[in-house]
């Protein structure tokens, strides 16, 4: 049945996408509120934390709560994860992976399962952030609705970004930070075409969260800061130090995760063991429990003593590494912010000892540390700068944070090259360095562009017979076969060569053919075919059914591969920037 014209008009309408993003942004905001309330309720029940408080606020917790609640919670998380794994054994696709490889396709069920596990993990006190669950639910919801509406690939990717933007915006009451989180991490670029839907979604999410939970500046500061030139210069080494800390955290967390996976401990037993260890760490440093929001606010308003700050940094890194390593679900977003505030505070305390006359402002150094470590680990520098701007509404502090964030980002790019998310993709063997859409490369297979009219000739066929069957210029290539299997290729011009080496009736195909060294498979992508053309230094390569059987099913010319690849690249680029008419070969709605 043909799609109704109204539906086609809707799909092609930019306004429809913008409105849809706004509505789904509200859904994502609701999801964030639901998840946050769930975790607060669990904290209230298990730890007796007053409503609105955070586990890392530094409440006096009894030793048995600190030790046994994370352990018991780990048992529940392990059990639920085991049940989910039995029913849905595949790895959950997150928003970055979905946009990079699958054109924005995510499973809403998997996303909700992950959110449940994250709520249980955060609720029982594991040292993990909830932002991963927020973005997963927001992006999963948008992806699901977008798929049901059969949106185009690029609109799906934008919508996934909208879900993540709304989630982060609602979580931090910061719509610009949410929007740029989507541009930097989820969509992979910023363009005029995706600005409106992403920003509208972020605003919708923020307003829903504000309506339901009240205006809540995540890191509100009570006074303006004053900075000198010396401060700005010092923010550069602070940023470099933050980059070093971020790299240690990323390496430490993934090393712990990999080490735990190598142990012969059943996966469902790991979270309770990890919970027990986190609990023992929390006996000395109770602020390591939970995501760290309370600790961030506390550290912004009064800085801890230097030894305690240093100890808490080590304890938080250990607790985060163990929590994620043993299988608690969650992310490092808020943990990185907490670590950053501790690092900034430690720098101020150290400066007070080394140069007491300098008198640095603890608040701004704490904010610079927060932004710089956050940018190093999360990999979203503009998001961090805007997060500070929106949550403090202090422009001078934001400029200072910008200096630290730039130093940190450049250092991580130079000496590490990954954010936490892309580092984990790298360890899983995925070639994802960001959310840029590379999935189309895999979908553009050789089978889609190869020619199927390849001419096969038996190896014993004489040159005279070949000349009769294939006049000069009739075919670009001949493929010699023996018992139906491809054994070589023949350049048709060789049939007419003056130095044939004998009379045409006695020389046969086997004498002229070049043995097959490189073949293509129909399921391979064009990018790999271009590599093979370059390797083989040939203009035509045969396409076979499988590398063992060598049954010829077609052939591909280098020119055709290059033409198809660049045409797809051009179309993809024009869709990305929202200017389909910019490229002559791009398909436009008017064409």
């Amino acid at each position: 049945m043909a799609a109704p014209a109204a539906w086609i008009a809707f799909r092609n309408s930019e306004m429809a996408l913008i409105l849809l993003a706004g509505v789904l942004g509200m859904g994502a905001g609701l999801g964030v509120v639901a998840l946050r309330v769930s975790v607060t309720a669990i904290h209230s029940i298990l730890y007796g934390i007053p409503w609105g408080g955070h586990l890392s606020d530094g409440f006096s917790l009894d030793w048995w709560q600190v030790v046994f609640v994370p352990c018991g919670g780990g048992l529940v998380v392990g059990g639920v994860a085991w049940v989910i794994k039995r029913r849905r054994p595949r790895e959950t696709v997150d928003a970055i992976e979905a946009n990079a490889l699958f054109g924005g396709r995510m499973s809403l069920t998997d996303s909700l399962n992950l959110a449940v596990l994250t709520v249980l993990s955060g609720g029982c006190g594991a040292s993990v952030g909830l932002e991963a669950a927020y973005t997963q639910v927001g992006a999963g919801l948008c992806s699901n609705i977008g798929h049901r509406l059969a949106l185009r690939r690029d609109d799906m990717r934008t919508l996934v970004g909208c879900g993540a933007a709304a989630a982060i915006a609602a979580a931090f009451d910061a719509p610009l930070a949410g929007a740029f989180y989507a541009f930097e991490l989820i969509i992979g670029n910023y363009s005029i075409a995706n600005l409106a839907p992403v920003l509208l979604a972020a605003l919708s999410g923020t307003f829903v969260a504000r309506e339901l939970m009240g205006e809540d500046l995540a890191f509100a500061t009570s006074r303006a800061v004053h900075l000198t030139t010396a401060d700005y210069l010092l923010f550069i080494p602070v940023g470099l130090g933050a980059a070093g800390l971020g790299m240690i955290v990323m390496q430490g967390v993934t090393a712990t995760e990999q080490w735990m996976r190598r142990q012969a401990i059943p996966p469902w037993v790991r979270p309770p063991i990890g919970g027990l260890v986190v609990g023992i760490v929390a006996l000395v440093y109770p602020r390591v429990l939970g995501s760290g929001h309370g600790g961030i606010v506390a550290n912004l308003h009064f800085t801890f003593a230097l030894p305690y700050l240093c100890g808490l940094i080590a304890a938080k890194i250990a607790a985060s590494a163990i929590s994620i390593g043993v299988g608690f679900r969650g992310g490092l977003f808020s943990s990185s912010l907490f670590l950053g505030t501790l690092f900034g505070g430690a720098v101020v305390m150290a400066l007070n000892i080394v140069a007491p006359s300098f008198d640095p402002d603890p608040l701004v150094y704490t904010l610079v540390g927060m932004g710089a470590v956050g940018a190093a680990i999360v990999g979203a520098p503009i998001t961090m700068i805007l997060l500070v701007l929106e949550s403090t509404r202090d422009f001078a502090a934001t400029v200072g944070v910008t200096v630290g964030v730039i130093a940190s980002t450049v250092a991580v790019r130079r000496w590490f090259g990954y954010s936490f998310a892309t580092w984990r993709f790298h360890l899983r063997g995925l070639k994802i360095t960001g959310a840029e859409d590379i999935g189309w490369i895999d979908s553009l297979t050789i089978g889609r562009v190869m020619r199927r009219d390849g001419k096969t000739v038996p190896v014993e066929m004489s040159v005279a017979a070949l000349r009769k069957a294939f006049p000069l210029g009739a075919v670009p290539q001949l493929f010699a076969t023996e018992d139906g299997h491809l054994v070589g290729t023949i350049d048709p011009s060789d049939l007419w060569a003056p130095d044939l080496g004998g009379i045409p009736e006695e020389v046969n195909a086997a004498d002229l053919m070049q043995p097959v060294s490189i073949t293509l498979l129909a399921t391979e992508n064009l990018q790999s075919s271009l590599r093979k053309f370059s390797e083989a230094k040939l203009e035509i390569l045969p396409v076979v059914d499988d590398p063992e059987g060598l049954q010829l099913i077609g052939y591909l010319t280098e020119a055709e591969a290059l033409k198809s690849y660049s045409r797809e690249l051009e179309r993809h680029r024009s869709d990305t920037i929202g200017e389909a008419r910019l490229f002559s070969t791009a398909i436009t709605p008017d064409s």
Partner: protein, 114 residues
Amino acid sequence: MYALIFAIGFAAFTLGGLSDRGGEQDPWLEVGALLALALGFILGAVPRAWSIVPRAILPLPTFLVFLTILTDRKPAMPFYAAFAAAAFYALFITSYASFLSHRNRPEEAPADEA
């Protein structure tokens, strides 16, 4: 290098715990204790056979330092719980030093080839 980073982190962890106790404290004693523990850990993690000596000594001071930290915890915890947690820290740090020492140890030739 890895042992050094871990030792610095462990020293910071211990120092922070010691400094967070209530009552009168002796900063020099605290710094001395954490330097001794960090040095003991680094020497215990050296990939040589003699590193067993610092590893044999390491558990007792670690246990005592953490017992001090945990018995001063607010709100207070029972002594048996503090004892068990301090024992965990002592065993963990010694085991980890041992793990690092053995992981980085050069291959030893079998006795019959020596």
